[in-house]
Amino acid sequence: MRPRASRPSPLRSGTTGLPHPVPRLRATSFAVLGFLALVAGVAHAQTPPATARATTTSSLPALSAAAADVQNDNGQALHVQWTAPAGVEQVIVERGSTPAGPFTVLDTVSAEGGSFDDNDVPRGKPVFYRLTGLGAHGPTPPAVIGPVVAVAQWFNTGRTNVAFFSVIFFAFVLFFLWSSRGGRKLFVRRIAGIDAIEEAVGRATEMGRPVLFVPGVQDIDDIQTMAALVILESVARTAAQYETKMIVPTNYPVPFTLAQEMVKNGFLEAGRPESYDPNSVRYITSEQFAYVAAINGIILRDRPAANLYLGAFFAESLILAETGFSTGAIQVAGTANVHQLPFMVVACDYTLIGEELYAASAYLSREPRLLSTLKGSDYMKVVIILLLLIGSVIETSFVLKNPPTQSLGQVSSPFKSWFRTE
């Protein structure tokens, strides 16, 4: 097959990155994307991928080689393959724009590998390769192959499976968002952690001691902090109903303001705005260990009967959990930072594990944004579980038909292979 690209591409790139001339399809898209397209690369993919065979210039044993376009890329890579005659140890790979040269050396590589990826090819232009083998008996005659053209693709077919999962999941989330905004009630089960929190506040009331709420150690850009503040509002409501004092130490200015807002709101909603103490939310410092040392001080001095640690926690989680434990307070913790959960599980009376933190905040706030995410994830999990069960059955029957000879996991069923990402 003779590649069409052996003649120059009608759309050649200018140096500034602006295409010339601009095709109509592009012009419309430009209008949409505005300045983004300033940097759009240029050459259009319209030539079929080229495969070229070696034309040897000598009767002596040269390399037999071939070059082809790399699929699913942006048109900047070509793959060169060869079979080297015995005695050839290294291969000099050169590239040029005409079969006669001039050629520039790309690299000298081991002949054993049998291939070379050229990742810096001008897009859409025909190129030629010259391969020269090197061995103990001197160089082989050069093999010139080409022309080949690097072409860009519009869809990476190796990622269909990722698109498949993403589309299903996004559809679920958007559907639930749409239906919850339309007023449909989305059912979410009550999280046991919420009961545990209420119980803890109740006990603090009985003992006449305050409730400590630590909303994590991250700024507001961490969604865990946001989730914690949502929970704080409902804790404040409960505390207001029971007329129990709250202490909320914070470590960044924005969570501080938001926490004040949340606590005030909670007291307002409980119908006791007069009991709201503006000093209950305190700004401490954003230095991690200084913040923790200050909370330790609060725990030891004020002896809160309930310690609630909800949000993003890091290395300090164990220090907090230990100090709180030593005062005998009821402790409820929750974080999505999985590596901190072990310390919370062993030292706290109840722990919200990972996603449960988000679920609790969605449950309490009933906000469509959060609920739709939660429901979408749930339905996606059902899809995953079903596909896993089907997949395992298929895989088992496949393995029964093709028992592994030596090592496991070498071959897999077409079903499993389809999900392999590239």
Partner: protein, 218 residues
Amino acid sequence: MQRQIPLILTGVIGFVMLLYFFVPHPFISGPGHFFEDAVIIVVAFAIVLGAANLLTFNGEIIARRGKDWPYKVVLLVSMFAMIAIGLVEGERYLEPETVFSWMYNTFYASMQATMFALLAFFIASAAFRAFRIRNLEAGLLAVAALFVMLGRVPIGNVISAHWPNGIQLPQISDWIMENPQNSAKRAILMGAALGVMSTGLRIIMGIEGSFARSGGNS
């Protein structure tokens, strides 16, 4: 307007970066590359902004002679000293023989490493005072922890060197890591992936919006 344009911009950029994964063609990957390069620079400025925040925040404490203000002076002086040395030494500021490198080794490296080394002490005392095996769940946690702690260090090799092959302590700890540990961890990974994806979707759709509140003079 001040809120709408950034939201639209966020959505468009996010969508291009999303498509960029599936569409190799330069029509999408071109802008994609530009955003990669651009975001690198903007994020660098954001870190410098952090230092500026530190300056205003601590400067304010010093100005009103707030709590621990002499320490805040130390903080700001050391920050400016580091910046001044780096500026004077120029682009080769990290060569091994520069004053900047010396400051790095003497102050930054040693103190950062020690801050985290403190946790070794706290972890031991927490193990003693706040690790309660109160139910089956905590019991499972404890057993797995004991096996892993013993199996990952040489003392485990010594104890179980002559045990039957397959149930030596390092092998048990490896099995825990690769099987029960791994399966639960994978479920968490998948759940977290769904969380990140839906947050990304909401940002691209322009319905997350919390950052638009946090930016600016709020």
